[in-house]
């Protein structure tokens, strides 16, 4: 215990000293992004190409969940339609790259703007709705929008959707460079950009204003906060993240098809943000990892147990549901909240044990 306590004391000293983050918001978040980026790079190099593709998936889920963190976690607007916003981003990406021959980076910037605009329009309507009515409206979006692809098969490719060529890794990385790692890097950079922008916004006035509107609309208006405009802004920002996530989805999967953006995706995103921890960027990380690994784990488990096919095919969903319900019962504030509480508890225990040891040392000395 003493060694751990000393290690933590040294870490705390380092945090107060050379590990201290800059106070200026942009510099602070750029430093964090570089740190996360390095960790992401190292991880991507040491894992298998299959794991790289999982990492890439986690990165675009994270990007979408960052948007939901803003909208639902911080601003209190419930959206069951974020899968549809991802679909807008994905289809726009395929059309811009495949038909207009845009380069990847301008495409991702453009789809972010396009989806943000769509989100702004939706947000203007959503600002007039509350609770279940807002959920119902966004649900209609999640169900209705992917169906548009069937209505315009010439443009959107119908049920089969549209495909695009995979991104080509630079020749300098070598011919044997795994494509999945390159995709993971692109998705990782996109996720870090979303992280920096949203973290900047949340550290300042916007985060406070979003939460004020969520908690007490009447008081928010009385102190001069334009409630409807704030809600539209949250929707726009959230949609921008969903659009970028849709673009990154295409980078990873080279496909935009209605089947990929069904209602289940929207519900999964909502599940992820709640399971990870509503309203925190850390929660979005845990939520993204849960969305990637929980279904895979449930599928593996169902395969490991020899069960009739009709049972084993449904078991992953059941296990997924059980994990979700259990998680909510044990950690109502999500994984991030549980980790925070565990950290506090451990900190108190360690401080107590350190002070007790110091006390006994002093007595021995006397």
């Amino acid at each position: 215990m003493t060694a751990v306590a000393h290690l933590i004391a040294r870490l705390e000293a380092a945090r107060a000293g050379w590990l201290r983050l800059p106070r200026q918001t942009l510099a602070r978040h750029l430093v964090l992004a570089v740190g996360f980026g390095l960790a992401f790079y190292v991880l991507s190099v040491y894992i298998s190409p299959y794991r790289d593709s999982q990492l890439a998936t986690a990165a675009y889920y994270f990007t979408a969940l960052v948007g939901l963190t803003v909208l639902t976690g911080l601003n209190g607007q419930l959206s069951i339609g974020h899968g549809a916003l991802m679909a807008i981003g994905a289809y726009a990406t395929v059309l811009l790259i495949g038909r207009a021959h845009f380069a990847l980076v301008p495409t991702l910037v453009a789809v972010t703007v396009i989806t943000a605009t769509a989100g702004g329009v939706l947000g203007a309507g959503a600002a007039r709705l509350r609770g279940p009515y807002l959920a119902g409206a966004t649900l209609a979006l999640a169900v209705g929008l992917p169906a548009l692809a069937d209505g315009y098969p010439g443009t959107f490719g119908g049920d089969n959707g549209l495909t695009v060529a995979p991104p080509t890794p630079p020749a300098s990385l070598g011919l044997s460079f795994p494509l999945t790692r390159w995709e993971a890097w692109i998705a990782g950079v996109g996720a870090l950009v979303a992280f920096v922008v949203v973290a900047n916004l949340l550290r300042g006035r916007a985060g406070r204003v979003f939460r004020a509107v969520r908690d007490h609309e009447v008081s928010a208006q009385l102190v001069g906060i334009p409630v409807a405009r704030t809600q539209v802004l949250a929707f726009t920002l959230s949609a921008a993240c969903a659009g970028l996530a849709g673009g990154l989805y295409v980078v990873v999967n080279q496909l935009a098809a209605p089947g990929a953006f069904q209602l289940s995706l929207s519900l999964s995103l909502l599940t992820g943000v709640v399971l990870g921890g509503l309203g925190t960027l850390g929660g979005a990380v845990w939520g993204a990892l849960a969305l990637v690994f929980l279904p895979a784990w449930a599928t593996n488990l169902s395969h490991a147990i020899s069960l009739p096919t009709n049972v084993s095919s449904n078991l992953p969903l059941a296990l997924y549901g059980i994990a979700l319900a259990g998680g909510m019962l044990l950690a109502p504030r999500g994984i991030q909240g549980a980790l925070g509480r565990a950290g506090q508890w451990l900190g108190v225990r360690l401080r107590k044990s350190t002070s007790n040891e110091e006390g006994s040392d002093e007595q021995d000395h006397k």
């Binding site: 922008v197 006035r205 916007a206 009385l222 102190v223």
Partner: protein, 264 residues
């Protein structure tokens, strides 16, 4: 935006011929009153008299069927609620109405929000301008917390504080707006005698620096603090004048006691 700090000796706020109906219920009927800069106006009346509705109309939460609210001679009819804060109108609610997930400091910073200068882009990019804005807001809010003896609880969440302190935080949040008109809706409700004494001191300190409208059931508080008192009953203004005159007004006594003559 209207100029602030100008000499508005008379008629800082003028309410003229205000009528509000909720379906068949008449909440306010042709109510006219005004309040001068630096004056403390008490608004009293039995429950359901229309006091809070009057506040809601002045704040913009309720649109009147007839009449108008003039602030420094300008109609507020087309001014949304959130813009009235930047015009210098602040209000506390009957409860506390704090933001439960924000610390005490952040609650008060939210009150000073309309004084920011940086825009959305600065916030998105985390530019130094946005940081400077935050630092200034934090300093303004901290000063206000010190003024109201709340500095020690600056980092606490409102729900962890006693009710009296929560009400004081709500007052700090209203005052940090730098209001020219402060509307207090039952500020003494739920407070003990010590807290009420402190509230009296505070409102006395504010006297002269801003107009204060005070809805309060504690007649002793109203009598001590207010320059004038307006009495509402069933949505009508039945009396208005100095507190001592109001206390013996037969219409007021009838409204409160249901009798034409005061009890001996």
């Amino acid at each position: 935006m209207l100029p602030r700090g100008e000499d508005v000796a008379r008629g800082a706020l003028r309410v003229s011929g205000l009528s509000v109906h909720f379906g068949g219920l008449v909440a306010l009927s042709e109510v006219s009153l005004d309040i001068s800069a630096g004056e403390v106006l008490g608004v009293i009346g039995p429950n359901g008299a229309g006091k809070t509705t009057l506040f809601n109309v002045i704040c913009g939460f309720v649109a009147p069927r007839e009449g108008d609210v003039l602030w420094r001679g300008h109609s507020l009819r087309r001014t949304p609620t959130h813009r009235r804060a930047s015009l210098g109108i602040a209000r506390t609610l009957q409860g506390v109405g704090l933001f439960p997930a924000l610390s005490v400091l952040e609650n008060v910073m939210a009150g000073a929000d309309h004084r920011r200068r940086s825009g959305l882009l600065s916030g998105l990019l985390g530019l130094p301008r946005a940081d400077r804005d935050e630092s200034e807001l934090r300093a303004i809010a901290s000063t206000m917390l010190e003024r109201l003896d709340l500095a020690e609880v600056a980092q606490r969440l409102p729900d962890s504080l006693p009710y009296a302190l929560q009400k004081r935080v709500a007052l700090a949040r209203a005052l940090v707006c730098e209001p020219q008109l402060l509307m207090l809706d039952e500020p003494a409700a739920g407070l003990d005698s010590g807290d009420i004494a402190r509230l009296r001191e505070l409102i006395s300190e504010l006297k002269g620096s801003m107009a204060v409208m005070l809805v309060e059931h504690r007649i002793d508080v109203v009598t001590e603090l207010c320059d004038r008192v307006a009495v509402l009953d069933f949505g009508r203004l039945i009396a208005s004048g100095p507190p001592e005159a109001i206390k013996s007004d037969p219409k007021v006594l009838e409204a409160y006691l249901g009798a034409e003559q005061p009890y001996a």
